[in-house]
């Protein structure tokens, strides 16, 4: 179980104006600004849960993950993961966790991937028998047969990410932190990675916390979402709850040959071009069928489409609502 209570972290950021003069000035006296990366963050994640941790760049996602993986010490607050405080009992704690940082590699660059795996086996003191079992399973599921003997430096990003994820699971951690695991991957690799993570979560009951900017990741993987912005947790709930909130806004995509449109309360014209118009429909004011009736009154319609907001748009509107 992961329990964060009132965690805060402030960074000192060095700033100066541009230009040589200011560069010279800053040589003698630095100006620092304090940046509140995390502000009183609290949440609890139960065993076996899969949580999507979202927020814009610089919101504090990575800082939270770093604190939970024992790499960063917060200024105040407490964090308990399976009874341990990550930054105090680092070595004890990290035995039970796996970490995947999408933008960094944990594989050794010069040697074949299987050598990296062997080394990780020794680092985590995994027994030969367990290693064999886990290794075979990972190879099979992530289809690594072809690439396991290639040095990491010669793998494509998608291949490498599959290996990274495998590497983080060799010691069968109870908790897995994934920091943008699908960043830069193509559609096929993304789906493969998601599929695999889902299976591991369901079968092994591995707790997973996943930060991402890719809303499809969230839709495919997580039941629960934590939204963070400017260092504060803004929202903690299920994706469906979020959707419900966002779904008040529907879009009506209309193609027409001739005619004009009459708007009424709850309908706004979002875009209009030759033969095509997009309307926003606030379903709290007007129902979809009434809206269709209204816009089609005086026009010859050739095609009509009703769209809910995508998760992507949902998040953008959430960011806007919270002013982050």
């Amino acid at each position: 179980m992961i329990k964060l209570n009132n965690i805060s972290k402030t960074y000192r950021i060095r700033r100066r104006e541009t230009g040589i003069k200011n560069a010279l000035k800053s040589f003698f006296s630095h100006k620092y600004e304090l940046l509140r990366a995390l502000d009183d963050v609290s949440f609890t994640v139960n065993d076996g849960e899969m949580v999507g941790y979202i927020g814009p760049n610089g919101a504090g996602k990575s800082s939270t993950v770093k604190i939970m993986s024992g790499i960063l010490t917060p200024d105040s607050g407490s964090c308990e993961i399976d009874g341990l405080t990550p930054w105090k009992q680092r070595k004890e704690h990290v035995k039970n966790i796996g970490v995947v940082f999408g933008q960094r590699s944990q594989l050794w660059w010069d040697v074949p991937v299987c050598d990296s795996f062997e080394l990780l086996k020794d680092i985590y003191s995994v027994s030969d028998r367990d290693y064999k079992r886990v290794y075979d399973e990972l190879i099979e599921r992530l289809s690594l047969q072809e690439i396991i003997k290639t040095p990491a430096r010669q793998l494509s990003l998608g291949q490498r990410m599959r290996c990274e994820i495998a590497a983080s699971l060799i010691h069968e951690p109870r908790i897995l932190f994934l920091d943008e695991p699908t960043i830069g991957l193509d559609a096929v690799s993304k789906i493969a990675v998601r599929q695999f993570l889902k299976e591991i979560n369901q079968e092994k009951k591995t707790t997973m916390i996943l930060t991402t900017h890719d809303m499809q990741d969230i839709e495919a993987l997580t039941e629960r979402i934590l939204l963070i912005g400017k260092g504060k947790i803004l929202l903690d709930g299920s994706l469906d709850e979020l959707k419900l909130k966002g779904n008040a806004q529907k879009k009506l995509n209309v193609r027409f040959s001739v005619g004009e449109f009459e708007l009424c309360g709850g309908i706004t014209l979002l875009k209009r071009s030759e033969g095509e118009a997009v309307f926003g429909v606030d379903t709290e004011i007007i129902s979809v069928s009434r809206a269709i009736e209204q816009v089609t009154k005086k026009a010859e319609i050739t095609d009509l489409e009703v769209m809910g907001s995508t998760a992507e748009e949902l998040v953008v509107s959430l960011y806007r609502d919270f002013g982050i």
């Binding site: 790499i71 070595k91 990290v94 960094r104 050794w108 010069d110 080394l119 680092i123 003191s125």
Partner: protein, 267 residues
């Protein structure tokens, strides 16, 4: 312990695959050795009594130095470590049940040894085939050769422990260049890499005796040609041991402190 041995192995095999670098290294070292000997020969011809070492002993010193260059040159840093500290890659290392100090130590040892393994034999072979006094002399006795090996190993540990301190400073300065440039240029002189320590002024030698630099390459090479021997050699080895303990102990403590205040850079 096993994890550090494994890490040593993986670093060793990762380094040893770069054959091109090794060949280039061997050629450079041979060439450098010849140049240096030619230079010193000119000085010795002017007045050989003005020098503190016999010319043949000096030639042996130079050849050993070229053969084991990668073991002792301070500036053979593992650039990946600097990069990791600068850009935050170190996070991964910290997210593992490892002592960072021990791991870096093992990795550095492996890289230096892998490079030396590839390079030392051809250089030693060529040097031992050269005519006297230009070549590498055979060891004077089995005893002094064994003492040489012990001292070589301890000097190696001293260098590694010293380099660890340079890595740790990067936690504070972030840019490793300043410290690296100073350390490189100063240690070139003080360790006897540029010219053997006996060639330095007496007052400087007296000071150097009390620094770890004296325990680096200077010692084994001079023990080899019995420039230092007997009780002096025994005392010097004890001193080496003391420095190894001091430098490692200090490095580990310092690393612990540095990690407490570390900020993992980058998102």
């Amino acid at each position: 312990m096993k994890k550090y041995v494994s890490f040593f192995k993986i670093s060793f095999s990762g380094t040893i695959q770069y054959r091109g670098a090794a060949v280039a290294g061997i050629i450079t070292q041979l060439f450098w050795g010849f140049m240096e000997i030619m230079l010193f020969r000119a000085f010795y011809e002017a007045d050989s009594s003005a020098f503190p070492m016999e010319f043949s002993a000096l030639c042996s010193y130079i050849w050993l130095q070229q053969a084991f260059l990668t073991l002792f040159m301070i500036w053979f840093f593992d650039l990946k470590i600097f990069k990791q500290i600068q850009d935050g890659g170190i996070g991964y290392e910290l997210a593992r049940p490892l002592e960072l100090y021990d791991m870096w130590f093992a990795g550095n040892a492996a890289q230096r040894m892998a490079k030396a393994t590839l390079r030392c034999f051809p250089v030693l072979l060529v040097a031992s085939l050269l005519p006297e006094p230009y070549g590498l002399l055979a060891p004077s006795s089995v005893g002094s050769f064994l003492v040489f090996l012990v001292s070589l190993f301890l000097a190696f540990l001293t260098v590694l422990a010293f380099c660890m301190l340079v890595y740790i400073t990067t936690f504070y300065t972030l840019s490793p260049y300043g410290v690296r440039i100073i350390v490189t240029s100063v240690t070139e002189l003080l360790t006897g890499a540029l010219i053997p320590i006996p060639f330095l002024p007496d007052w400087m030698q007296e000071i150097l005796r009390f620094t770890p630099f004296y325990s680096m390459q200077n010692l084994p090479y001079r023990i080899y040609s019995e420039d230092i021997w007997g009780t002096e050699a025994a005392l010097a080895i004890v001193l080496q041991l003391i420095w190894v303990f001091i430098l490692i102990g200090f490095g580990k403590l310092w690393m612990k402190r540095a990690l407490k205040r570390v900020v993992i850079q980058g998102g």
